[in-house]
Amino acid sequence: MSDNITIPPVSKGISRRQFTAAAATGALVSTAGLPMIRSARAAPPLKLGVLLPRSGHLALIGQACQRGAEVGLPMLRDMGYAVELMNADTESNPDTGRTQAEKLIREGAQMLMGCFDSATTLAVAGVAEQKGIPFVVNIGSEPKITEQGFKYVFRNFPSAGTLGKQGLMLYKDIFATSGVTPKTAVLLHINDSFGMGMLGGINALMPKLDLPFTIVETIAYDPKARDLSIEVAKAKATKADFVMTVTRLNDAILLVREMVKQQMDTMGVTSPGSPGMYDKQFLKALGKYAEFCSVNIPWFDPKQEVGNHLSQIFDKAFPEESCDLNVGFTFEAVLIAADAHKRAGSGDPQALTEALRTTNITKRAMLGGAITFDAKGQNVNLPSAVVQNLGGKPTVVLPAESAEAKLVFPMPAFKGRT
């Protein structure tokens, strides 16, 4: 059974006069049962079916997304939104995701949100289309999600192509800002579907983007590897100017630790768009050696009040966890759903879908312009930023208009850091 979390519309303290009036009105309604007074009550909250991989191999990220969905609810209430979350676990399995989506709709969900991984998102999108229920995608980069002609699917996350292209293009900005242009890079990447997908994207885009460096060697490894000493030794032997990585969390820690041990100093350890190096566990495990590692990804806009407020609430509620893009994009997905419900003024799926099409949210958490959707249901205002670990926290250093601190490139050698 799904576990529901309800945030009612905002209610503040009432005065004696208001209480007397309310009591009198209540008595009137209970005796006369006036329908016009009943219709003046606050609209019921949106029943939002939340589908996330809270168990299985994607559990760590699924739970981060779940925290993002729940932690922002008081903020949404203060912004005048009313939403009830109907949570379901996809168990990191597309078939389970499909079944859970059908169950949520049977139980009264008026809109769906999820699912982090593209395969499950596509499975749920099929259910949403069949049942005519709008579906807001928090994270999921598979291009087909918005290229397949779905009418009820709206995605507030870049597609894989956009993500890779933006991530690579930012290298030009890094070099222009720092005034240093490396000539060679070594690419270390995981060999799971995400890592191989990123590799394919990088190989396809590198010749087209006219980047000033070449990748001299590509080294694949198992994301569950216990030891990456050989991989790092091979990377060191290439004598490349800087290191590009496509990682998850644990292997990112192993990689940088090995680089320190093997005294592999390069201009930088950077990722064109993968998790791991901005994670709180990465910063905690590596301490001073996590500094100056950078990732090119969509991120919180440090100039937006909504994002800063969300980060503060999150850090207070979950001091051991990272307020990262999983949290930010899932919060925004709930915001988009709640906003559409408020404008639609009802929970009717058709009205909600129409409202989603005309979304225009300017006060948002993540970098980019207003949240709007094109004819395919894709938000195209989702730029990436260069996020560098500085002072023990991921910090936006590019684009310049959003930067919180100055980019450090080339990074200082590992030895001698304090």
Partner: protein, 289 residues
């Protein structure tokens, strides 16, 4: 790739191999004496890794000084397990023994999952980021410490079996259990001591491996499999064979990763195993049955 690269890779593989060898010693000791195949081997090692992790996080004892304590705890665990449970299954057919030890393995993994959760835990020491530089050779400090400790434990174990009365009695049980009973040895107790020694070896290896590898409950099956590859390569029941097998696996992983493709390095351990099974089925240092 120059000679320095291969020198560094080979030395790294050799050091890792010594720790692998220590891990497999326990498996070899238990099989060599009792002919019991310990399918809970990897699980016992992960248990030792968590024990070392707890001693470090709760009491501030670093893994190397904690090694005798962890080995002692695992000795008691192994002794009690053999004395009160496994001894009852020694006379039964082998597949029943397999099922028993697989059940123990599953129980240990699930208890660790319940207590510690699925997340990886690691011990970070200053030494975790340090290395020794000898000319162009860069040696990982933690690997050097772990390999020296592994060599020390292996020497101690060899001396125990060769020069102590209990060690001699255990060897007598391994050679001829009926004869050992006839001359009045308490075979059940000696079997329990042997299982305890095997578990203590695993405990020592776990204590050292936690410096190299992040621990999580699902790690155990990987290490049970690795343990089997090593002892079969070296020869089941041979202490020297276990160390040699460990070194061969460490070196094959390192060199295949360096020369061919790092993501395929485990494949070469299995390739080596198949080759040894074809050419010398009883292992490199094992005796013919």
């Amino acid at each position: 790739m120059d000679a320095t690269f291969f020198l560094n890779v080979t030395s790294g593989g050799l050091l890792t191999g010594l720790v692998y060898g220590l891990m497999a010693l326990g498996l070899s000791v238990i099989f060599g004496v009792m002919r019991v195949v310990n399918f809970a081997h990897g699980d016992m090692m992960v248990l030792a890794m968590y024990t070392a992790f707890l001693l470090f996080t709760k009491l501030g004892i670093e893994p190397v000084p904690a090694l005798p304590l962890v080995a002692g705890i695992l000795f008691v665990f192994g002794y009690l397990l053999q004395r009160f449970l496994i001894n009852r299954f020694l006379g039964v057919s082998e597949h029943i023994q397999f099922l028993l030890l697989l059940s123990i393995a599953i129980i240990i993994t699930n208890v660790m999952m319940m207590v510690f959760g699925p997340d990886a835990r690691s011990i970070q020491l200053d030494a975790s980021f340090e290395s020794y530089s000898i000319g162009p050779l860069v040696l990982d400090k933690v690997r050097v410490i772990a390999a020296v400790a592994a060599g020390g434990v292996a020497l101690l174990l060899g001396a125990f079996f060769r020069y102590t009365t209990t060690g001699t009695a255990i060897r007598a049980c391994a050679d001829n259990p009926v004869g050992a009973r006839v001359v009045g040895l308490d075979v059940e107790n000696l079997y329990a001591v042997t299982f305890g020694i095997g578990a203590a070896c695993v405990g020592a290896a776990g204590c050292l491996l936690v410096l190299l590898v992040d621990v999580h409950p699902n790690l155990s099956s990987d290490y049970t499999l690795l343990g089997f590859i090593i002892v079969i390569l070296g020869g089941l029941g041979s202490l020297g064979g276990a160390l040699l097998g460990g070194i061969l696996v460490g070196l094959s992983e390192a060199l295949s990763g360096a020369l061919i493709e790092p993501s395929l390095k485990s494949m070469f351990s299995f390739g080596l195993l198949i080759l040894v099974l074809l050419l010398r089925p009883h292992g490199i240092l094992g005796k013919k049955p």
